[in-house]
Each structure stands twice: as C-alpha cells, then as structure tokens.
Amino acid sequence: MEKMSRVTTALGSSAISGRTMFCHLDAPANAISVCRDATQVVVAGRNIFKIYGLEEEQFVEKLNLRVGRKPSLNFSCADVMWHQMEENLLATAATNGAVVTWNLGKPSRNKQDQLFTEHKRTVNKVCFHPTEVYMLLSGSQDGFMKCFDLRKKESVSTFSGQSESVRDVQFSMKDYFTFAASFENGNVQLWDIRRPDRFERMFTAHTGPVFCCDWHPDDRGWLATGGRDKMVKVWDMTTNRAKEIYCVQTIASVARVKWRPEKKFHLATCSMMVDHNIYVWDIRRPFIPFATFEEHKDVTTGIVWRHQHDPQFLLSGSKDSTLYQHMFEDATRPVDMANPEGLCFGLMGDLAFAVNDSLISSDANRKPYPGGDRRYPFFSFKRPNLTEQFAHVSSALSVFETDLDSNRMDWFVKTAQLYILSGKPFAELCDHNAKVARELKRPQVSTTWTMLRIMFSDPANMAAPASNLNLSKLGSLPLMNSFSMKEMGSGMGAESRLERSKGENRQDNIHLEPGNSLISNNNEENEETEGSDGPVENMFADVELDDDDLYSMEQDNQAEEQEYTLPQEAFQLRHEIMDNPSAPEHLQQDKADSPHVSGSEAEVTCLTPIESFSLISISQPLFSPHLPASFFCPIVREMLSYYAVQGDVQMAVSMLIVMGERIRKEIDDLTQEHWYMSYIDLLQRFELWNVSNEVIKLSTCNAITCLNQTSTTLHINCSNCKRPMSNKGWICDRCRQCASVCAVCHHVVKGLFVWCQGCSHGGHLEHIMNWLKSSAHCPAGCGHLCEYT
C-alpha cells in the first residue's frame, strides 16, 4: 500500500495522458521498450532502430540510432531494452550474436557504447537488472546466458543451460539475485547470479519451446510463461516445486507475455504466428480474453506497458511496420460478444440452463420449463474485489431434473417389443396391445386400443369389410382345399408363416426332386381348384426344360432371385407368383389393395379353413346391422394425428399398422411416410432392429418398404476361377463349372444357398440345417465350428 501511494504521486507528477494512436515505421519491428518515465519508446528490428517520443496526439521520431552508410549486422536487433534506472542506457541483442549497449548521452552521432561478441549464435534476449545499474543479462541461441558488468570489457559470468537455445531471460523483480530463463526444449530454469555453475531449479513448463516469461511485478513468486504449445501458464515459485496455478489456452503460439501493471490477475499476450491480435487475459477466466486489441495487420512482435504503474496504456510494435499506443478503454471486449445464456442436456435427460443474472432477474418468476420439476440456483458468484471494468458478472445456473419415470424411455422400448402388430385377428391384436399398455401404466393408450377394437370389430363381426372383399374374390373359386388356402394366407403377408411355408415347399421339392412330381402334384391340385390355370402351368413347364432337366422349375425361379437377393419383400411377392400359380390375378389385386391388411385378415380365415367357410357364408348378412367402420374413421384419424403431434409416433404407427386398410386411405401418404420414418428412426436409435424391421415390412408405404431393399445385393465370385459371377448364381460363365456345390450332398445348389460366414462353406438350406443339428463342425470338413441360428 505504501508503494501504491508512491506510485500515484509519481504518476501525478508525470501525468500521462494520450489516446490510441499509431505511426508508420520504415521496417518491421522486432521489439520495443519504453524508458522509465514513459515519455519515449525505442523500436528495434532488423532494419530499424529508432527512438520515438510519446506525445499527447502522436509519436514523434526523436532519434535514429542506425547510423553509418552500411550498417552492420550489429544493428539487426532481435531484442531491445531500455534501462529502468538509467535513462540514457539501452541494450540490444543482435541476430549475429552481438550484445550492444548504447549511451544516449554520447555527443557523437553513433551512440554505440559497448560491444560484446561472446555469444556464438543469435542473442534472443537482453535484460537489465531492475535495480543494479551496470548489470546486464543476455540469453542466446547457443544455450548460454551471460552476465555483463558494463564497466568491464567482457562478461563476468556465463551460465550454461545445458541445452539448445535460451529464448528469454528475466530478472526477478523482488529477489535481487534471481533470474529465470526459458528454453527451446520446454524447460524453465531459475538461477542465482552468484552461482554460475548450476541452476537452482529447473522444471518443464511447456511442450515445445518456451518463448517468453515474465515475473509478476508485485507478487514475488509468480512467473508467467508462454510457449509454442499455445499456452500461458502462471507458476507459483515460492513452493519447493514450481506449481502451475493458472493456465490460459490461446489460439496461437505465445510470443510475448507481460503482466498488466496494478492488476494482479491481468496479463497481455501476443503471438508470433497467424494471429495478429493482442490479448489481455484475466488469468482466473481463461476462456475468453478480457480485452483485445485488433489494430495490427501482421503479427505483433513486441508489447510493453507504457508505464510500470499505469494499466491504461499499452504500446506494441509489429511486423506490419507500425507502432501503436492502445488505450485500454478502446479495447474490444470479447465478453460482450459472448452468449450470455447456455443450455445443455445431461446424460440422464436433465437440462441445465445458465444465464446472466441481469437477464433472468426481469422475469425471475417465470417458470421456464413447463415440465421442469425443480429449479435451484446452482452457483452464483460475485466478485466485489474486482475493481474495474468487469461488469459484475454473476450468473445463475438452473438445473431442471426430469423425474426419472416420466423421462425414461423404457416404456417405449418395452412397448415396441411387446406390441404385436400382425399375425393375429384384429381384435386379439387390440386386446393384446391394450394389455401391454396397461401394464406399462399408460391407461390412455390402453383405452385407445380397447376402443379401437370395439369400433372396428365386434365378436360377431370379426371380418372387416376389406377382408370380405378379399374373401368374396376368393369365393369365386368353386372349391378351396386346405393347401391352397394356406398358400394364400402365406402369400398375403404374414411373414412368419411365409417362412414356414417356404420351408415346407422346399422340403417338398427336395423330396420330390427327381421326377417332376411336385409340379404334377401342384397341377393336380390346381386343376382341382381352378381349371383355368392350366395354360400357366404349361408355360412353366416349358421354362423348366430349357435349362437343366434335373431341376424343377420352382428351384429355377428361386435360384434366379436368390443370386442377388434377399430383400424380403421382393422375395415374398415373387414367391406368391411362384407358389400360387393358381391365382396370379388375385395377387395383383391384393397388392393393389393392401396385402398386409388382407394378410392379417386372411389369416383369420385361413388358419382354420372351416371357420373361413363359415365366414364366407355368413359374413354378408351379419355386416349390415352395425355401424359402418368408416363412420369412425375421421375420429380415428384425428386421434392418430393427436398421438403423432404429442410425440408418441409409436402409437400412431402401431395403430396404423394394426388397423391397416381400415384407416389407411384416410391419411395421406406423405403423413404416413413421415410417421413411419420417425418411428423407424426412433426404433433404430434404441437399437430395436427387429422391431424396426418388422415395422418396415408391415408398412404399406412404398418409400418405407423399399428401405429393406437397399444394399441387399450380394456379389458372388466363382470358387474356381475367382471371377465375379455375372449371370446365374450356380454356374460360372467363364470356366463352365458349377460353382456353388452343397457341402452335404455335393450337388449344385440352385435355390437358397446358406453359408457360414466363418469358413464360407455351405449348401442347401435344408441340408445344412439338418447337418448342424447333429454336428457342430462344418460339413466340408474344414474343422470350423459353424453355427446355424
């Protein structure tokens, strides 16, 4: 405090004043320094060495120290320092390794006083002792620091850093004997000038070179260092081990660092690459610079506070050949531009919201988030001791916890897994889903399902209009035996059953392979059911012959698709054509209608053929007494939209699927597609791949169903010649050999080919399945433990 008062008087006498101003130099500056009374500044560079007077309105060139016709390299300065005790005394560090002192009191034009050429490499830094007039310290690229007594011709002591390149040397402000040196290898050393043999202390401050260091002017123990690693670090040197107490991350390598006078926590930095600005940091707030000076057009090379007790004036020199005086009040304050609000979601769905107090006070009573349960100020701080310019910054942080139950998405996952969307009668589906919802404590949803069931079906009227349509078509057939009914059912979309029926088919095929008995069998059956299909059969028979007599036409067809294949949908449809040669035109119509709806309905009828017969016979009369289902459609449509808008797209889509044809036409395709997409996206985020796949399969939008057909192409190479097989899956065009041979029966596989991804052996699906039932090893004998799931 005592010192402080002295300062004010000192300040009072010299009465510094000025404004932001600049002047052009003739050449890029490398370093600047001010004299003690803050009235003059010296600028040094490769081609410049001048003294400017600092006047109220402008810089005035006072003296050009660069004299002589052909100035030597001694004038090429890397650094300059004005003595803080003796105002006629300057020292420069030359790029050729010379340390030069200058005496402004000399009468001659050449003010050069002493020349020390002891360093072998570029001298990076010179530093006068803050209180001792004749003591000068230098640090050089050759790894040595030298201490000169200006009364003598040569250095009095040499300190060896034992490493390449001293980048900065600084006498401590408080400890008479101590100085700090920073090195290119990232180390900082502390020396006692009385002991040139060994450093007192060394620590690694940065990765990569430490370009600069600066002792805190007031606090004895603080040393700030700046490095190529873009960091400014403040070290507490009073403890045994140097302790990093603050760290500021800048955006470019730090070339200079200077503590701001009278401000304990402020320091100014500039960079030597890319970034031209000068930043003043409050080290306690390392994220945003406290103030920024953006005047320079090229990198700033030297910064210095004009007076050692005045925090308002900063001088800077730059490679763009200008010298600036910056007024602190003209600085840009990045904080003002910073966003005063922050919002972030936590892992568990909590929401944190931080805001500047001034913004929130106006509407403190507002409840910012309708669903938020609690709001508590988390932390808020004021900094009364911060004297100036910081608007009292305080912010409030609110955390909105969502209560665990409402926020969990468990119900979503469970619902998705438990809902049954197809494969059962409509009423059962509704009942089941209602039960699921009830168990998950979602009564509204549950009720909705129940209502749906009541609206669209009642015990007496299980078959909805759509299915009636279907059946009536089927009904045109004079007779339906169980076989064809089954096929119809599977063909129309109940996936699980389709799989099964495929299996059955194949089994048949395989068993009956040698003679075309299956075909004939089929023929017979078909002829029984529908005589008109005879020609189709014949055509198929033709096809069958042209390739390979051994194999039945079903297999051909299968193989044809399975070469590339396996998109389920496409598969299914073609299967229908193939497996139900009896009714291709029906299928066409079915497709045009809704295969999936009719599928589920057809199930109802088909599972038990007898019932279906009864249905056909009685459905017509029973239908009329009830309200037509279409009566409810607008309401249901609104309800679906309501759920979708509420964010429960799951409900919307589930109901859409379950109701199928009953409601589908009421809602435009785009909306449906949108819902499907959202739901599928959600499912996939929860990694419910199976459910999502089922939804895709059951959807009726073209845009959705085709999702499953993307990237399902499988390219096969011939196992003999290793060329890609272009044409057919089982015979190679080039080497004329059958490529895919079943590992079990050693016949060519033309239909479904299943193979192990581990050892790539495989064969007929049926054979492999059977084989792996009895044995764990690969049928090819390769020793791989295959698995069939």
């Binding site: 490769r46 790029t95 050729n96 890319v274």
Partner: protein, 545 residues
C-alpha cells in the same frame, strides 16, 4: 471361398504378423499354394526348358520374385528360411527361379558393410518388424537408414503418418503426389515403389500416363512441384492464392500443407536415394533377373560396389594418398574453435563471406550428365523437363536473401504446420532435431570428437545454396571445413540428385565409414527438406496475413 478367395496381397499379409504362430500358418498356406501352382505349370516348362528368361506363367513369376524378396529382406528369420527352402524346392523341380540383380541395397556401399537383416540389434529389429508389418516390405532406404536406428524410427513414423494415417488428402492422392515429386528428380526407384502403392490403394491406372490424365486439382500441383524442387525461393503468395481460389478445383489450406509436406519429403528422399545409390527393390523392375549367372559376365553393379572379385587396388591407393584428410579436418575444426575469439571478422567481412559462399556454390560445377536411364518412363509424370536448379545468386534476377532469424522452422514453420495438419509439425520437428543433433562423437577412427561444428557447416551450406542466411554464422567456416569434392557431392545431391555418381560418392571423405556417409546424407536430406518447407510455409504465411 476359403483361401482361394483372397487375392495375392492378402496372402502375403499373414507373413507380416508379429505372432509367430499365425506367421507359420500363413507360411504354410503360401507354400502349398505356390507348390500347387508350380505343379500346374510344370509340364509346360519341362517342354520348353531353356526358352527365354521369361517363363510362361507371369503370375507365378511375380510370386517367385516376392518369395525372393522375402527370403532376403524379411525381418523374421522363420519366413526367410522357409522362403529360401521353398525357392530351392522349386528350383529342384526344374523351374527357373529369379535371383537378385546386384548385391545389397546400395550401388555405392558393399553389401557386407550394410546391416544384414539377420544381424541387427533388438531395437533395429523391432523397427524393421514394425516397418515390415505396416508395408509388407522392408525397402532399401530403410535398410540403409538402419545405420542410424534412432533416426530411422522417426523417419518411418513420419512417413507412415503422412501416407497412411488420417489426413486431409485421400490415400491415392498422397501416393500420386509422391510419384510426382520423385519423378521431378527422375528417381525411378521411388516412382516404382509408389506406383505399386498407388494402384494398391485404388488409384486410377490412367493417371499414371501423365499429369494430364490426373484430376485438375492435382495438375495444379505440377507448377508448385517444379518450383519447390528446383527453385523454392521463387514461391510467392500469389502461387498459394492460385491454389486456394481455383473455384471447384481449389485446395483447402490443410490439404495444401499436406501436399507441400509430401512434396518436400519426396524431393529430399529422392536426394537420399541418389546420394546413397539405392538399388531397385528386389521385387521391382530391375531388381532381379531370371537369367542364370554366367561366369563370363558379372553384373556391372557387382563390380562397381566391390561385391565382385575385383580388388580394391585403387581404393587402397586412394587411402594412402588421402590418409591425412581426417586429421586435417579435425585440426581445422580445433583451430576454428580456438581462433574464433582472437580473430573476429568485421561485420562487412561476415556479410561478404556469405555472398562469397553463395557465389562460390555457383562455381561448384555439378558433374556432366552420365548415363542414367530410368527404367520406367518417368518423365511423363512431370512436365517441363528443362526446368532445373538454377543458382540462387544469378545476375539479373534479384531475390532477397531469406533471413533465417525472420522465419525459422522452430518459431514459425512449426506453428503453421501444426495448426493446419496437427501432429505432423511435431513429427517433423522431431525428425529435424534428430537429424541435426545426431552424433556419435566419432570421426572415422577418432573418438570423442565434437562434430557439431561440422554438422552445422553442412546444414548451413545447404541452406546457403537455397539462399537462406543465418546472421549468426560465419560462412568462412564452410570453406575451411568442406573441401571441394565434398561440396561437389553436396551440391549435386541437393540440387540435381539424379546426377550423383559413384565417383562423387567415393571421392569425398575417403577415410570415413559408410555409416558416416549415410549420416551426411541424412543431414543433407533433412536440411533440404527444411529449406523447401521454409519457403513454402513462408509463402503460405504471407498469404494468410
């Protein structure tokens, strides 16, 4: 299915594994495979036993050549042994097997002087294994650098990062840029190596027909490649601007940095390749032959690098003549160290010394063209073949001297590279430092010598040729320490490496060991790379400000 489905490359992969078990397994499958192939063509060769040097099945030939390479260069002993044995078996079956052309990885250095893959210390061994695992080969460059494992490690790491790891440029671009850069110096060795790599990462065969076939974006790079390789001081920020503002073909800064680093890397690597007389890889064109060794004709290279029976009469004579060389050099170094303080040259004197050294470097005539016929037509990879190195200080065009103090790698270059292409700055920094500071404190037969002065002289001499001046260096030292034949070698290697000859290599520092000459080569290579980089980075910095 099974093994057959994997292509040839896949099969070799297993051999790179560090795990002996999987190696043995891969080895076994390979052997079976090869034997099967051999048996398949057996009758044919039997019918035409002595046809030509070209057995009918070129596919098999490739495999045999690869086996030969493995038998010589694989760092794993088991693989080497098995391959030798396999080749022997095949030969016993009457199939002609290839043999390496020339002995050893270098034309200049006798094979017995170079590290044997079988006899290296554990550290080098592990570096070799890493390199082999990463690339499936151990190239001749790495073998030579194996003299200096510390450096090799850093070199391979950097190269691997530049070519294989995350970076702004796609993989095939990187190799293509490598090809471009190497082709600028007609370095068929590097071109061959990278043509293979380029194709392997899915590069378009068409591009190899010439720069014109490559995308517009890469074509732009041709100009930069040319200037950077021969007269880097002419790069201006306008060049850079042209890259970044080329509409749809424009480069991003990060890509440009990546490209610049790659270009400079391969320019300097080309210098090293020629400077050490690297032989073609065994499995590349010109690295092997199917012709049986006939007693009457030795391979020229064998004789040239002393691998044959020729005695080293001239060498011995030379040694006697020059026996004092090392001692003289050391004395001079000592003198310089001592005299420095007494006899301080005036500033003007210092300035003129740099100029003199610069002009003198002009007078160091690089050797007349000797025969160097590239095996692959590499000239198609670059345009403007007449553009070559021009002495920095020519009358007429005045280019200001580059002051090292104003733009140095440590302060400026590093920050820029690291900013735009993270981690690479760090790696290059490490590599430069390693190369610059590498010393064993030996000179020829003398131990405990401080060679820093010599190293600095070499480094600064190279930078001097590129017009980079250090204020704090007395260029008079160069004259004292580097004799004329050494200067010729340096200048040739740095400025027009394709003209380097064995004679040049032998005529400098005759008493020094080969490892020391390789060391010099490393120094030259890194200094050159840094010089080019500095110019390019300075231009980019100027563009950015």
């Amino acid at each position: 299915m099974e093994v057959q489905d994997q292509n040839a490359v896949g099969r070799w992969d297993g051999l790179c594994s560090r795990d002996p078990g999987s190696r043995a397994e891969a080895l076994e499958t390979t052997c079976q495979e090869v034997m099967r192939k051999v048996e398949a063509i057996d009758p044919m060769t039997a019918m035409a036993p002595l046809s030509s040097g070209n057995p009918p099945n070129s596919d098999l030939n490739d495999i045999l050549v690869h086996l030969l390479m493995l038998s010589k260069r694989c760092p794993f002993e088991d693989v080497r042994d098995r391959c030798v044995q396999l080749l022997q078996d095949i030969q016993d079956l009457g199939i002609r097997i290839p043999r390496p052309l020339g002995n050893g990885p270098s034309r200049f250095i006798p094979e017995k002087e170079i590290l044997q893959v079988s006899k290296v210390d554990t550290r080098t061994q592990s570096i070799f294994e890493d390199a082999f695992a990463a690339l499936g080969r151990l190239d001749n460059i790495s073998l030579l650098m194996g003299f200096h494992p510390q450096y090799l490690d850093s070199f391979l790491r950097t190269q691997h990062y530049l070519l294989q790891m995350d970076g702004p440029l796609p993989l095939h671009y990187r190799h293509y840029i490598g090809i471009m850069a190497a082709a600028r110096h007609q370095c068929s060795y590097l071109v061959n190596l990278h043509v293979n790599d380029f194709l392997q990462v899915g590069g378009d065969q068409k591009w190899l027909n010439g720069l014109k076939e490559a995308p517009q974006k890469l074509q732009q790079l041709g100009e930069l490649n040319k200037i950077l390789a021969h007269r880097p001081w002419l790069i201006t920020k306008e060049h850079i601007e042209r890259f970044l503002k080329a509409e749809e073909h424009s480069w991003s800064l990060a890509e440009l940095i990546h490209a610049v680093v790659l270009l400079t890397h391969y320019h300097s690597l080309a210098s090293f390749t020629f400077g050490c007389g690297i032989m073609p890889e065994i499995n590349c064109d010109g690295g092997h032959t199917f012709r049986p060794p006939s007693l009457s004709q030795y391979c020229v290279c064998d004789i040239a690098n002393g691998n044959g029976h020729a005695n080293h009469h001239d060498d011995l004579l030379g040694n006697q003549e020059m026996c004092g060389e090392v001692e003289v050099l050391m004395k001079r170094m000592k003198q310089l160290q001592e005299c420095r303080d007494d006899e301080e040259a005036s500033q003007e004197e210092m300035a003129t010394r740099f100029e003199r050294e610069k002009t003198e470097s002009m007078l160091v005539v690089t050797a007349e063209d000797e025969d160097c016929v590239p095996s692959r037509d590499i000239s198609r990879h670059f345009e403007d073949t007449s553009y070559g190195y021009q002495d920095f200080s020519r009358r007429g065009e005045h280019v200001p001297t580059f002051r090292a103090q104003d733009y140095s790698w440590e302060d400026h270059g590093f920050s820029l590279v690291n900013r735009l292409y993270p981690d690479v700055g760090q790696m290059l920094d490490e590599k430069f430092q390693l190369a610059y500071n590498l010393t064993y404190n030996t000179m020829a037969t003398h131990k405990d010598v401080d060679t820093s002065m010599l190293r600095r002289a070499i480094w600064n001499y190279i930078h001097c040729m590129f017009g980079i001046r250090y204020d704090d260096y007395d260029y008079g030292e160069i004259n004292q320490l580097l004799d004329r034949s050494f200067k010729i070698y340096i200048k040739t290697m740095v400025c027009s490496p394709e003209k380097t000859t064995k004679r040049m290599y032998e005529s400098f520092w005759r008493q020094f060991q080969h490892s020391e000459k390789v060391h010099v080569n490393l120094l030259l290579m890194e200094a050159r790379m840094q010089a080019e980089l500095l110019y390019a980075l300075r231009a980019i910095t100027r563009y950015m400000t």
